[in-house]
């Protein structure tokens, strides 16, 4: 693992991706001009709360958004080849073969009517065109690989006979059966217990080392990001707000939202003190605030500055970028930084909290 060196060319390159979704309240832009890349052998975490657009971003890579109600613009290139606008037949070949995906709820992603073995073998045969026997052997091999005990016997088991953690490993086996170059994992451990999460994450790390694949990991859990990601992409309200190497971003965030997310996680002994929280709620795409999208909830927001123009995403060197105009004036605290030292607690957010009372003292 370790930090990845910027290799010859990125494996996956997302360039000014925008996604509009038609909902009941009209068309909403849920992903707005998002650009980032995933290099070979690299793990990139896409972080944000629900409604940030992170899952939509990842699904648009594989063309999984319902075309009837979505419009996607920009570019998604895999090994230099444009994926947006590919016909479904061509996309099918990319899906599973070069790019595989695993989801949060493994039960709904597995077909309850077929055995685990049949489903993995089907996947293998589909993409490799090998014999039934070879596909079966391959299924045993990958199940073994992801740590499913007595894989050969478990082939005949149905999805409901597995526990949540086991099912997630079966999903991983399926995703890995064709040795994809890129694995997209959408909250794969969110529904699992911490003990099982630790197992699945370490399994994923080991597999990545072995196959040298890249991983795009979507999560809202910053602890998981710290455990697995080389680089992190933080999204808020459909925008990319900060990106950089995980260690650097966590040690010294350059966007108040990243800071707020980090501080919302209770660390160490916090008994008796109040938890740091972000006031209000994430805005809906129909009611995006003017200026910086985070400013109504931001403790550092400055009237006349943050609520005026939408701040651009600016590169700040060393592969990092941030979308905050006050970045240079602020001293944001990351992990290990002193809790109340930045004066952040004293600052009142512009526009007040959406919900009165309760949240901040």
């Amino acid at each position: 693992m370790g930090l990845s060196k910027p290799a010859a060319g990125p494996l996956l390159e997302i360039d000014r991706l925008s996604v509009d979704i038609r909902g009941e309240h009209g068309v909403a832009r849920v992903v707005d001009e998002v650009s980032f890349a995933v290099g070979p052998r690299e793990t990139v975490a896409l972080v944000g709360e629900s409604g940030s657009g992170k899952s939509v971003t990842s699904m648009s890579v594989l063309g999984l958004l319902p075309p009837r109600i979505t419009r996607t613009r920009g570019s998604v290139r895999f090994e230099g080849r444009e994926l947006l606008g590919l016909r479904s037949g061509e996309l099918d070949r990319v899906r599973g073969d070069d790019i595989a995906m695993i989801f949060q709820e493994p039960m709904t992603s597995l077909n309850p009517a077929f055995t685990i073995g049949e489903q993995i073998a089907e996947q293998v045969r589909c993409h490799r065109g090998v014999s039934r026997k070879a596909a079966r052997d391959r299924a045993v091999e990958v199940l073994d690989l992801v740590g499913v005990p007595s894989a050969a016997e478990r082939l005949k088991a149905y999805p409901h006979e597995f526990s949540g953690g086991m099912r997630q490993r079966v999903m991983m086996a399926m995703a890995l059966s064709c040795e994809p170059k890129l694995l997209i994992a959408d909250e794969p451990t969110t529904a699992l217990d911490v003990t099982i999460q630790a197992l699945v994450l370490s399994e994923l790390r080991a597999l990545q080392e072995r196959f040298g694949m890249s991983v795009l990991f979507i999560t809202h859990d910053l602890g998981v990001v710290a455990e697995i990601a080389d680089r992190v992409v933080v999204m808020y309200g459909g925008h990319l707000v900060e990106t950089g190497r995980t260690a650097e971003v966590f040690a010294a965030p350059q966007h108040p939202y990243t800071e707020a997310l980090l501080r919302s996680v209770p660390q160490g002994d916090t008994t008796g003190s109040r938890l740091w929280s972000i006031p209000g709620a994430i805005p809906t795409p129909e009611a995006m605030p003017d200026g910086c999208r985070f400013h109504p909830r931001c403790p550092h927001a400055k009237p006349g500055v943050c609520d005026a123009d939408e701040p651009p995403l600016e590169p700040i060197g060393d592969g990092r970028s941030s979308r905050c105009v006050r970045r240079e004036e602020l001293r944001l605290s990351g992990i290990g930084g002193d809790a109340g030292g930045t004066g952040a607690l004293a600052a009142e957010p512009l526009g007040g909290s959406v919900l009165p009372g309760g949240d901040r003292k």
């Binding site: 629900s50 809202h220 998981v224 710290a226 996680v265 919900l355 309760g358 949240d359």
Partner: protein, 339 residues
């Protein structure tokens, strides 16, 4: 003062599968001879993996699930065998906040009706205006207002729905509130808001919480006392700080070790990785239930149920390593890593 809630030797079993004659094929022991006390105005955290029986214990405490044996005493009154009628006067004094704010609020009800629901049983004679006043007051305590009265739960975000659920718990001014994974389904930022709100309300209204969660870091933050459950039994309990910093049971250690750390530099730390998964509660292992996954399992663990041993710093643990003279200190070092 007597604890508001006392659970003694409580056992809850469920029938599993039924044969053609309607007889259960097997009995699943979800809670096995558990005793725990929750003192007034305090928060007791209950942690464990899914399947540990922590939620069942919470439900049994509120008599949502029948106990097979043992005793639940609420404010000194044994409620274990009370019928619906006998329980009714006690219902307003205890409440539960559920994990899923989407399914715990009836989509066909307005916020006013939802929050007023516990009043239905409590104050039969109350006029509509009195009810509304009580509802508005409860809503204001959780950061909502009278403007929300006529809306439906569907129109709110997850965090706001949980606020509605809390207002509903608050409206009868209960003594005990069981929070069953009350914040697990929320986003990080909303989660802290709700936790802070719960703590404010505890201070303002003298609430007592039984806080059930799988997130140890959060449980440590809110709890005064923590009990760790594994496969239907409590394996360790004690003051929150002690359990977190000097866990006495190997299971508690492995739980703590599995929590992801925010610092990427700790990625290379040694972890206690538990082998396998929770054994089936239909056929729990003999002796110590944790032995099949325990990195320190010994012969004695299969043969004998570990005794309860008081822990230095408060509370106790049930592990053979901790019996005898100082065996614990020798076998488990403080870092939480396996030698």
């Amino acid at each position: 003062m007597k604890p508001i809630l006392e659970v003694e030797d409580l056992t809850v079993r469920f029938p599993v599968g039924r044969n053609v004659f309607g007889r259960p094929r097997a009995m699943l022991t979800a809670v096995d001879h558990v005793s725990i006390a929750v003192p007034r105005h305090r928060t007791v955290g209950l942690v464990g993996e899914s399947g540990s029986g922590k939620s069942t214990l919470g439900r049994a405490v509120l008599r949502l699930t029948a106990a097979e044996s043992g005793r639940v005493a609420f404010d000194g009154v044994d409620i274990t065998r009370l019928g619906g009628r006998g329980l009714r006067p006690l219902r307003p004094r205890m409440h539960m906040i559920f994990q899923d704010p989407y399914s715990s609020l009836d989509p066909s009800w307005t916020v006013e009706d939802l929050v007023a629901e516990p009043l239905g049983a409590a104050r039969k004679g109350a006029s509509r205006a009195e009810r509304r006043a009580a509802v508005v007051e409860a809503l204001e305590h959780v950061g909502l207002s009278a403007a929300h009265l006529n809306r439906y739960a569907q129109q709110f975000s997850g965090g706001q729905r949980q606020r509605i659920a809390i207002a509903r718990a608050l409206v009868t001014r209960p003594d005990l509130v069981v929070c069953d994974e009350a914040v697990s389904a929320l986003d990080v930022s909303t989660r802290s808001q709700i936790i802070n709100l719960l703590e404010d309300l505890q201070r303002d209204f003298g609430l007592t919480y039984l806080f059930i969660a799988h997130d140890l870091a959060l449980v440590r933050h809110v709890s005064d006392w923590i009990a760790v459950m594994y496969l239907g039994s409590i394996v360790e309990e004690g003051p929150a700080q002690r359990v977190y910093e000097e866990p006495a049971h190997p299971y508690t250690r492995s739980l703590l070790s599995a929590i992801p750390r925010l610092d990427p530099a700790e990625r290379s730390r040694e972890r206690i990785v538990l082998s396998g998964e929770l054994p089936s509660p239909l056929a729990p292992p003999s002796g110590c239930r944790f032995r099949t996954r325990c990195p320190h399992a010994m012969e004695v663990c299969a043969a004998e149920v570990p005794p309860v041993v008081p822990a230095a710093g408060g509370g106790w643990s049930a592990c053979h390593l901790n019996t005898g003279d100082g065996g614990a200190a020798a076998a488990l070092d403080k870092s939480g890593a396996v030698p």
